[in-house]
């Protein structure tokens, strides 16, 4: 169904998305995470665009535009506002240190290849073979959510999960039906916007956005 340039773009996009997730684990400077996410968004949009051209699918072309606007522009922009609200913020004390995190990321990639076996078996082609990279991004995003305590890092974890899922969706089914895709993008935008408002309010109230120090509600 797809011609060769589509495969090349797909391989590059999948590589960029997973590499971005691993970079997010590595960099402690939270400002550096914003261009990484913007690049992931652009890669996903490019993937949708080549699939749209090679399949002659107009709806998917619209999705490519929406993804570029949302994941490539608005979402990183909102994240930049959270970072600006808390200048000089660094992920100083993650629950798992950086070298160990990178080893864990390697293990998660292996795990994704194991899990994805059943998926690739159903439709073995060059696109579905890249699905493990998307699953690995989802798992690394989860890892970031569990081990990092800054508000910005947690939002980044959520976005990595989301980008990984978007990658899997494009690779497997050339995206979900148009209306569902648009609804999902809109939902994501609103969620990130709300997280930005909440993080800014928390910062104004407590003077920090370190979630380890928000512990009033524990049993």
């Amino acid at each position: 169904m797809s011609s060769h340039p589509a495969f090349d773009v797909a391989e590059l996009a999948a590589g960029v998305v997973l590499a971005g997730a691993v970079l997010a684990l590595w960099r402690k400077d939270l400002r550096a995470l914003i261009p990484i996410l913007a690049l992931q968004g652009a890669a996903l949009s490019a993937l949708a665009a080549v699939l749209a051209v090679s399949d002659g699918n107009l709806g998917l072309g619209v999705v490519a535009g929406v993804v570029l606007l949302a994941k490539g522009g608005v979402v990183p922009g909102l994240l930049a506002r959270v970072v600006r609200a808390d200048p000089g913020s660094r992920e100083t004390a993650p629950l798992v240190n950086v070298p160990a995190s990178l080893v864990a990321a390697g293990a998660l990639v292996v795990l994704s290849y194991l899990v994805a076996g059943r998926i690739t078996a159903l439709a073995p082609d060059r696109l579905t073979r890249l699905v493990p990279l998307g699953l690995a991004t989802v798992l690394v995003g989860f890892f970031v959510l569990v081990t990092r305590r800054k508000a910005v890092s947690q939002i980044v974890g959520l976005l990595l999960v989301d980008n990984g899922i978007a990658l899997v969706a494009f690779l497997l089914t050339a995206g979900v039906p148009l209306l569902v895709e648009l609804g999902a993008s809109f939902d994501l935008l609103l969620v990130v916007a709300m997280l930005q408002v909440l993080a800014t309010t928390i910062r104004a109230r407590f003077g920090h956005v370190d979630l380890d120090q928000l512990r009033e509600l524990h049993d």
């Binding site: 059943r118 998926i119 959520l158 089914t173 569902v180 609804g183 939902d187 928390i202 509600l217």
Partner: protein
């Protein structure tokens, strides 16, 4: 047309509330809109009982018996909660805590929230169901943080983050189901692949390997919104920090709406995998949720947190009932959704009134309510009796039905474990309840506002009525259960 009206009427009332300054008539408009939803829901249900499917908006909306039943549940609890919202907002404005603009925002968000839940249960496309369920998270986040305290802020952060991540997993599961459906032999392509009817007709041809992974993600993902372990930790915080009418809606129906999505996917997966796989998943999350609820209920000192953990308990029971998966068990699950929704909504609304008149919802500091405030204490007392699954309330009947279903399919051991957890919870709740109602302090009795008394007593009477009489629900429950049982 009917289905479009069901979604749009509460939305219109919300817009009305957003543009007009808050006054009591605005509140009554909200009540009228939710009463309309309830009425239209009953009309749809009467139609659906005879296996007639109503559809609308070129087939995008679809109401079989299961959807119609959920509309009725959402309608009745939204009705109770909106009457109490008037009281809540008036007290809030009178105390000077927040102004009228805050009240307008509240009205708008609550009505959008109700409309999103209705859209979720009426969408024909399971992808659209996902979009609507995620939209409920968006509508409720600022409602959880409505009071603006530090705790409320922390609760809303946890709520939106954990629920968004959880529901993202459900989206991945939905993508995998879509992938499996596209590769099902002889299956038509196109935008309608994720429609309920086409998924059900293709379900026997879906690839089992992909469906197993998809179902695990869906149980984990929608399970987060249901409040099932392991991603349940947002629930006690959000339900205890939100304003009481919002807690009533979240606990009483939102959890059930997420479970509705799970039931639909379960039916699709059962076609591809047989009953065993999803049964195992549901038994695990159900039992772990019961364990979590039982161990943490023992230490709760706050009324609303106690009710929140009790919601985790009841969702665990429902998961076990759904695991059994027979028509009888699913009908009992649905009756339990209604009974728990009514009882929990009444209790959350009553605890909101406790907070208003006593200034705290800490159980230690509000003893002997029965002597001091007979009507409010009585409502809380009967509500607790209903929640613990004692007759005459419908939760007794539905718990019995679910346990019978579990024993019939060889899940007797799980039923026994759930009974043990329920016994621990019984003792924990009774100890707190005794202090709350009887306590050690005497006082002169004072009256309770009629705005509070009439709807709450009505909710309890309804809950007892469905426990005593099979009419008028039995045929609807049967028809609804058959939608998701093969």
């Amino acid at each position: 047309m009917l289905l479009v009206a069901i979604v749009c009427v509460p939305l219109a009332a919300g817009l009305f509330g957003a543009v007009l300054p808050w006054r009591r008539p605005v509140g009554w408009t909200m009540v009228a809109a939710n009463a309309t939803v309830f009425g239209l829901g009953i009309a749809t249900a009467a139609h659906a009982t005879h296996r007639h499917v109503t559809s609308g908006l070129d087939g995008a909306l679809r109401a079989d018996a299961l959807s119609a039943f959920m509309v009725v549940v959402i309608g009745v609890i939204a009705l109770l909660a909106s009457v109490q919202s008037i009281r809540y907002l008036e007290v809030e404005i009178a105390s000077g805590e927040h102004g009228a603009r805050h009240a307008s925002r509240y009205t708008f968000l609550v009505q959008v929230f109700v409309a999103c839940m209705l859209a979720a249960v009426l969408s024909a496309n399971l992808g659209a169901v996902w979009v609507a369920v995620e939209a409920t998270t968006i509508a409720t986040t600022f409602l959880v943080g409505h009071r603006g305290s530090d705790k409320a802020l922390e609760a809303s952060w946890k709520y939106v983050l954990i629920c968004s991540v959880g529901i993202a997993l459900a989206f991945l599961g939905t993508v995998l189901v879509y992938f499996a459906a596209l590769h099902a032999p002889g299956h038509p392509r196109g935008a309608s692949v994720l429609d309920w009817t086409s998924l059900m007709s293709a379900s026997h041809h879906l690839d089992p390997g992909v469906m197993r992974l998809a179902m695990a993600l869906i149980v984990l993902g929608y399970g987060t919104k249901v409040g099932l372990a392991p991603l349940h930790s947002w629930l006690p915080d959000a339900h205890s920090q939100a304003p009481a009418p919002v807690s009533a809606l979240m606990s009483g129906v939102l959890l059930a709406v997420a479970f509705y999505a799970l039931l639909r996917f379960k039916a699709v997966a059962d076609g591809a995998l047989g009953l065993e796989f999803t049964r195992m998943l549901l038994v695990i999350v159900g039992l772990v949720s019961l364990l979590v609820a039982a161990s943490l209920l023992l230490t709760q000192r706050d009324l609303k947190r106690m009710f929140a953990y009790s919601s985790i308990e009841h969702m665990g029971l429902i998961a076990l009932g759904a695991a059994a998966g027979t028509t009888l068990a699913i009908a009992a699950v649905l009756l339990h959704i209604l009974g728990h929704g009514l009882a929990k909504a009444v209790l959350f609304l009553a605890s909101g009134e406790v907070l208003v008149v006593e200034g705290t919802s800490e159980i230690e500091r509000v003893p002997a309510l029965l002597a001091r405030r007979p009507l409010l204490g009585g409502i809380l007392g009967f509500g607790l009796v209903a929640l613990l699954g004692l007759p005459p309330f419908s939760l007794f009947v539905s718990e019995l039905g679910m346990i019978r279903g579990e024993v019939a399919v060889g899940l007797g051991w799980a039923a026994a474990l759930s009974l043990a957890a329920m016994a621990v919870i019984f003792v924990a709740v009774m100890t707190r309840g005794r202090h709350l109602l009887l306590g050690g302090r005497d006082g002169t009795p004072s009256a309770t506002s009629r705005l509070v008394g009439i709807p709450l007593v009505g909710g309890l009477v309804a809950c007892a009525f469905f426990g005593l009489s099979a009419w008028p629900l039995q045929s609807l429950l049967d028809a609804a259960a058959r939608v998701v049982v093969r």
